[in-house]
C-alpha cells in the first residue's frame, strides 16, 4: 500500500522558507526617535507666528497632514489633558511661555478636547501666577492649578533612589500629559528640559539635586503615572539660556525662536543639551563636563534599567524645519 504523501508545505519546507525569508529581508531597523526642531526666522514671534510654529512642530512629530489631525492622535474627546509647564523662574523666557500654552489649548479644543478638560499645572499657584498664568479652577473653563492647591497622594511612589508623593493633578485628574519644559542651563543638573520637568510633579524635588540629578531625574520619571501618561514633549526654546539657570538671566539667553518637540524625552533632552553645549562653546564657556555638571541623568534614562528613550545620536531622527 502506497502511502500518499501530503501535498502542500511540509514542516521542513516551512522552516526552510522561514529561514530563507529571514535572511533575505533585512532585520527591521530599530525605530528612530524623532526630534523636531522648529524655528522661526522672525525676531519677534507673536502669537500667530507661534501658533504656526507649533503646528509645524506637532505635525512633523506625528507625520500628520494638518495640525488638528496631529492633536487628534494625542488625545481623544473626554480625556483630561494636563499641560505641565515650568514656572519656577517667574515671568520671562526662562519659564514656559503663556502664549505657547494658549496656542496648545486652542489646538486641543479644535481637536475635540473640552476647555474644562484642559489643566495647566505646576508646583505652586504662586509660581504659576508669577510666570503669567492665572490660577483658576472654574468649572467648564481651562483650569490652572498648582500642586499646593490640588494636593499630593499620601502613599509613596518609589523607583530606584526616588521615593515621592505625586501630585494628584497627575495621578487623579489627568489622563494624558503634554510636557512643556524650557530649554535652559541648570546650575546643578547641567541642563533642564523634558525629563527634569517632572521634579515639579513630586513633593520633594529638593532631595533630587545631588550628583547633578543622577540617577534621580531618571528614577522620578520612571514613576508609573509619569511614564504612562506623558504623550508629547514640546520644549520652549524661544529664548534658551546657556548659563546661569534655572533662574532667569537675560544676559545669558539668546534668541533661538524655536520649539523642540518629541515623544521621546531622552532624545529631546540629548538634542537640547547639544544645543546648549554649542552655544557655550561659541561663547567661550567650558563644557558642562568641565564645569562639573554634565547631565549624566540623560544617559541614565536611556540605560537598561530605565529605557525611557534613546541618547544615541544614530537613533535620533533630528528634523529641523
Amino acid at each position: 500500500m502506497l502511502t500518499e504523501r501530503k501535498s502542500g508545505t511540509t514542516r521542513r519546507g516551512l522552516l526552510r522558507a522561514c529561514l530563507a525569508g529571514a535572511l533575505a529581508c533585512p532585520a527591521p531597523a530599530q525605530a528612530k526617535s524623532r526630534v523636531v526642531i522648529a524655528r522661526d526666522a522672525d525676531n519677534a514671534v507673536d502669537s500667530a507666528r507661534l501658533l504656526a510654529l507649533l503646528d509645524r512642530a506637532v505635525q512633523a512629530v506625528f507625520g500628520a497632514d494638518s495640525p488638528i489631525e496631529a492633536w487628534k492622535k494625542l488625545a481623544r474627546p473626554g480625556e483630561v489633558v494636563g499641560l505641565k509647564v515650568n514656572c519656577l523662574a517667574g515671568r520671562g523666557p526662562a519659564s514656559t511661555s503663556p502664549t505657547l500654552v494658549e496656542a496648545i489649548c486652542e489646538r486641543l479644543q479644535q481637536a475635540g478636547i473640552r476647555a474644562g478638560d484642559l489643566v495647566v499645572w505646576d508646583r505652586l499657584d504662586s509660581d504659576l501666577e508669577s510666570a503669567g498664568f492665572r490660577p483658576s479652577t472654574r468649572s467648564g473653563r481651562i483650569r490652572t492649578i498648582g500642586n499646593d492647591q490640588a494636593g499630593y497622594e499620601s502613599d509613596l511612589a518609589t523607583f530606584g533612589e526616588a521615593g515621592s508623593l505625586l501630585a494628584t493633578t497627575l495621578t487623579r485628574t489627568c489622563d494624558a500629559i503634554v510636557n512643556l519644559p524650557v530649554l535652559k542651563d541648570h546650575g546643578i543638573a547641567g541642563v533642564t528640559m523634558a525629563l527634569k520637568n517632572f521634579f515639579g510633579a513630586v513633593h520633594n524635588p529638593n532631595k533630587y539635586h545631588s550628583n547633578s540629578g543622577d540617577p534621580y531625574v531618571a528614577d522620578v520619571y520612571m514613576l508609573p503615572p509619569i511614564r504612562r501618561k506623558v504623550r508629547l514633549h514640546i520644549c520652549d526654546a524661544l529664548a534658551p539660556q546657556y548659563e546661569g539657570g534655572p533662574s532667569l538671566m537675560p544676559h545669558w539667553s539668546w534668541p533661538f525662536h524655536g520649539l523642540i518637540a518629541s515623544r521621546d524625552p531622552v532624545a529631546l533632552d540629548y538634542t537640547g543639551w547639544q544645543i546648549i553645549e554649542r552655544k557655550r562653546a561659541e561663547k567661550g564657556m567650558p563644557t558642562l563636563r568641565a564645569a562639573r555638571r554634565e547631565p549624566a541623568y540623560i544617559a541614565r534614562a536611556a540605560d537598561a534599567q530605565h529605557r525611557l528613550g534613546t541618547n544615541d545620536p544614530g537613533l535620533i531622527d533630528k528634523v529641523e524645519i
Binding site: L88, A89, G90, L124, S126, D148, Y152, S154, D155, L156, T158, G163, G187, I188, H203, N204, N206, K207, H209, S210, G244, G245, P246, S247, M249
Partner: protein
Amino acid sequence: MDRREALKTMVTLPLLTAAGAGAGAGTPAAEDARFVVEARFYEKMPSRRVRCKLCPRECVIDDRERGYCGVRENRGGTYYSLVYARVCSAHVDPIEKKPLFHFVPGSLAFSIATAGCNVNCKMCQNWEISQARPEQLTSTFVPPQKLAGLAREAHAVSIAYTYNEPVIFCEYVLDAADAGRAAGVKSVVVSGGYIQDEPLKEMCRRVDAIKIDLKAYSQKFYREIVNGDLPSVLKTLAAIRKHGVWSEIVYLVIPTLNDSDDELKGLARWVKTELGPEVPLHFTRFHPDYLLKNLPPTPLPTLERAKAIADAEGLHYVYIGNVPGHPAENTYCPKCRRVVIERAGFTIAGSHLDRGKCQFCQQPIPGIWEGLLHL
C-alpha cells in the same frame, strides 16, 4: 484618614490650638510672612546666588530655589528660613523617648518639629514631616516666648527640638532656647549632627543636651542610605564634647546594613577614644518604614550582641532601646554594677542616685540630674 493626615492633625492641633498658641485652627499651607526670617548662616554669591553655610552640604542656591532641606529659599539673592516658629508637630513626651537617659530622668520634654531635613534617611520614621516642604503641612505659629510658656504650662523641664532635624530650623532653636532659659526651661536637641562648626557653636552656647543619631559607622552607609557623610557627624560629636554640652548617642541597628561585629567594634572604640567611656550609647531596634520596608525589625540577639561588643570595649553606659522591659534599659553603676536608675519603657521605676552619685558606692554617674524624681 491616613497616617499622614493623622500625624498632621492629631499631633499638632490639640496641643497648640487648644492651648491658644496659634491663630485659630492650624495655619493653612499658604505663605505666611511670620514664618520667614533671613537665614543666619549663608554667604552671598554673584548672580543672585547664595551658598548655605548651615550644614556640610553647602548648597549653592539660585534665585527662587531652595536648598536640599526644602525649607530655606533664595529670594533675590537673600536667603531665608521658611520655618521660623512654624511648628507642624507638638507633643509632651517623656525625656526617655528622645532618648536621653542621663538628663533629668522622668521629666517631660515639650517636643516640637517643623517640616524638612538636611538628609534623607531611607529608614526615617517621620518622613511625612521630615521630607515635606513647609507649605505641604498644616502648621501653627509658635514664637519663642510662647513656646517657653507652653512648656512651662505643661510642666516640662525642657523643650525638645525633635522629630525632624533641628539644624534646619536653627534660627528658631537659638531664639527659643534663649526664651526658654529666661523662663527657666531647658532645651534639648535631637539631631543627626550634620551641621557646620559655627551654627553648632551657637547651638551649644544655648542648649543643655544634644542627642545625636549616629546612623552607622561607615561612609558607605552614610552615602547610600542617608545621603550624608560620616566624618562630618563624627566631627560634630567631638565638638559637642569639647563645648561641654551633655550628649548621648543613638545607633539604630539595621539588619545587614550596619550591624557587623567589625563596624560595631569600630564604633565603640571611636566613642571611647574620642569622646570617653562615659558617653551613653543606645542601640535601638529598627522597624521597617519609608524606603526600607524590605528589612525585618532588628532581632533582639543582634541588639544584645551590639551591647556586648560595646561593653567589652569599655563603654560604661550602653543601652538597648525600643525593647520595652529589657534589663539594658536600666542605668547600672559602672563600679558596683547595681541598678541606679530602673526603667520600664519610658517610665522611671526606681532611682538610686544621690546628687549624681550611686547610692550604694558613691560612684559619680555623669549626666544632668537636677530635678530628678526620687521614687
